[in-house]
Subunit: 454 residues, 2 copies
């Protein structure tokens, strides 16, 4: 068999992140102050975020932003990650398509999230911050942030969405092993948490609620900043190391993807692999289909609306331009906890609006079927989130077979599922279900949103 | 910072395994037929093991055995693995020692065990075998075997030691996701299991008992072979890819280990990293200290006796020459399930007897303290088994500091602990304990053994 993996050396770790905003013909709309509806200035964001990160967040001119040496050194913990030709999956599907995946699951916490937690902790530390707060869904971001916080000597409190706190206790333990404090969200420790517990006593939480709690705690704690694992521009920026490496590796393989796929929650792993490839589409008109795979139970890109909305459930954040289901949308308790978010980041939302990318929504059972097939064919148990990308890639590969036309598919394996095995147990026992979202539910939520935002 | 990782390409995956027996001045004693006490012939082993594996087991002449192309192709799933300079750990210990570790935890099942499960499944398949049985402790071997069996189209039944079956349910799920059947051992499905349940109703199992059950099922199933994850010569052989890669990588780093450390259960990861280095000690007299780190609660190398014993609890296997505590030794329920085995493989036992290596025993609390320090310093949560190697490496690094003398330490990180987080929870909560083995207990067990073997 030809080579399975395309391996880079440490010297090939990118030296700069790629800032797609600099190249976008239509820039994303600015974040707004909810009260004045005026575009936010950097100063407005300084209380909540480290200055170095705010500068990256608002940078619309520099296409390349240098990666600090201390960050690049930490990337060497596990980067560069392999690009893998999925011969086993191709064979199992009997498809003429060539399938590649970028294996971000090899990071020591099992996902791509470290790519951004490290620079976020670095800039906080550099500016003399001592404490940070954050939220986490399935726990991938929380584990990554806990590792980075420990390395840079920051105290960390993590609000973990309650349904995942119970579904995935090992991720809680990993955060604690790295020295972080973990609180199930909604909690009684914040006003945001108490309010929602009072209104909905059995609410199992969502990323939107956990963000509210983390933001509230950050605002009330001295010398403390808030850090976020997705949605924001600077997070997308940090993640571009994925796609920049993948570009070199596809060159080693002698192919270029016809279609590029990643799962979609707030957009971090999607942007990370997609933006470097999209720059050639934007700048040179190079053909590539870019597909975000989102859960059918949380379909903001496929069925949401493009408009200003809050990033969190309680309305603490600025108003962001996004494809959204409304910040009050309560996603079903699917196991892909990292995808249970009502909105999409501003950059991705603009790219989608401008037709530079597309989206598909996938039901839970299809993702687990794809996950088990992938595990048996490639030997890697994928995270439930990443399984959305796998399912979308399988759809493409089956289409290629149907049409008898080869094509090159690249998807991002954003994480492994070794700590999500309770979900696999339920799937194998036939105890998992799909979740339908009705048009009426979406319309009702968006109507409510309009009243709140106005 | 200088390079952290030393990365090889796929072409650097070894093309042959290293058979240390060919180079040993004193060969290991032969396995014996328990009834006749005569040395076993190949034919005696054919009913239980694939012929290709039996040939390797008994080969005392060829120092190099070619790795079949199909096996090498599968190794490309994750090999070569990185060698890492543990700058973080060095800094945390403020030691003049240079510490390196070979990171076998990057395999898709999280440990080194795939190195042998793949060739074992390959030879079974090649000889027309359809079903295989095996045992597993913490589940690392079972997961690796399940992946390999699925790839080569074999049906697999795994007896998993009961204490681990309950402590580590995710590993059970991983095996099931790969399509294997998993049974908690001791079970009612075999005579060996029924006997021990009858005698000790609450017995939580051991590797020795699980081996008995797996062997019994293999003997009663048509076209079925038994496969083993440690102890036997051919398993050690397969694992030498670890040390062969590490040799090249230490060369890249421009250093040679003064001391080489691995944890010790039956000997598979230890032999894998140690044998290639020991060949220079045997053949060229090159200085190196080689240290096996075993649990204080199962101290066969440090406190056991060198003599013939059964490999399993019920006495189904041939008699093997080994350092042993007696096959009836019931190890305490430590979380390092993979190290809960009464004996050591024949080759390692001979090397120990000949003074070519040494051993240390380490208590559970020291291993978890080392594990948390390592996790926080290097970002990788280690398996409880591997933490024995880390603890031993830390002792060496602290000794170097005390003496003010630098030295180069290499240890094998045989696996990650992301699925062992319940153990970390208990440790962080102060709920774990040490386990003492009294001299009287060892003496009583060995006296009993002498009666049985005679």
């Amino acid at each position: 068999m030809e080579s399975k993996k395309f391996i880079l050396q440490e010297k090939d770790i990118p030296t700069a992140w790629y800032n797609i905003v600099a190249d976008m013909k239509t820039k994303p709309l600015p974040p707004l102050n909810p009260k004045t509806k005026e575009p936010l200035k950097a100063e407005d964001l300084y209380p909540l975020f480290a200055k170095g990160l705010v500068e990256q967040e608002l940078n619309q001119t520099d296409a390349w932003i240098e990666i600090p040496e201390e960050v690049r050194d930490m990337y060497k913990l596990w980067r560069p990650t392999p690009l893998v030709r999925a011969y086993g999956l191709e064979k199992a599907l009997d498809t003429p398509a060539h399938i590649y995946f970028k294996n971000e699951s090899v990071s020591p916490v099992g996902s791509h999230k470290l790519n951004s937690s490290i620079p976020q902790a670095y800039y906080c530390k550099k500016e003399g911050v001592t404490n940070v707060t954050t939220e986490t869904g399935a726990g991938q971001w929380g584990c990554a942030m806990a590792l980075a916080a420990k390395h840079f000597g920051l105290e960390l409190a993590v609000y973990m969405v309650k349904v995942s706190y119970n579904q995935k206790p090992y991720r809680r333990s990993i955060m604690q092993t790295f020295g972080a404090e973990v609180i199930a969200s909604p909690s009684m420790s914040t006003r945001a948490g108490r309010d929602i517990i009072t209104a909905h006593p059995n609410y199992q939480g969502s990323l939107g609620t956990a963000i509210s709690e983390a933001v509230e705690l950050a605002m009330q704690t001295p010398n403390c900043k808030y850090v976020l694992g997705s949605v924001l521009n600077h997070v997308m920026l940090h993640q571009t190391v994925i796609g920049l490496e993948a570009e070199k590796q596809m060159e080693m393989a002698g192919e270029y993807p016809d279609v590029l796929i990643a799962c979609f929650g707030g957009g971090s792993n999607f942007s990370g692999i997609a933006f470097p490839f999209l720059r050639h589409k934007i700048n040179e008109g190079r053909q590539i289909r870019v597909v975000a795979a989102e859960p059918a139970s949380c379909p903001k890109l496929t069925r949401g609306q493009f408009q200003y909305d809050f990033g969190d459930e309680s309305g603490y954040t600025p108003l962001l331009p996004m494809f959204t289901l409304g910040h009050n949308f309560a996603p079903a308790n699917i196991h892909a906890g990292g995808l249970r978010y009502h909105g999409a980041g501003s950059i991705v939302s603009q790219l989608k609006k401008d037709g530079l990318m597309e989206a598909v929504d996938i039901q839970q059972l299809e993702t687990f079927k794809a996950a088990v097939l992938f595990a048996q064919a490639e030997g890697i148990v994928p995270a439930p989130e990443s399984s959305h990308a796998i399912a979308a890639a399988i759809r493409e590969a089956e289409q290629a077979k149907l049409e008898g036309k080869p094509r090159t598919i690249l998807f991002n394996l954003s994480g492994h599922g070794l700590i999500d095995m309770a979900a696999y147990d339920q799937y194998l026992a036939g105890d998992l279900t799909n979740y339908e979202v009705t048009d009426a539910e979406v319309a009702r939520n968006l109507a409510e949103l309009e009243k709140i935002i106005k």
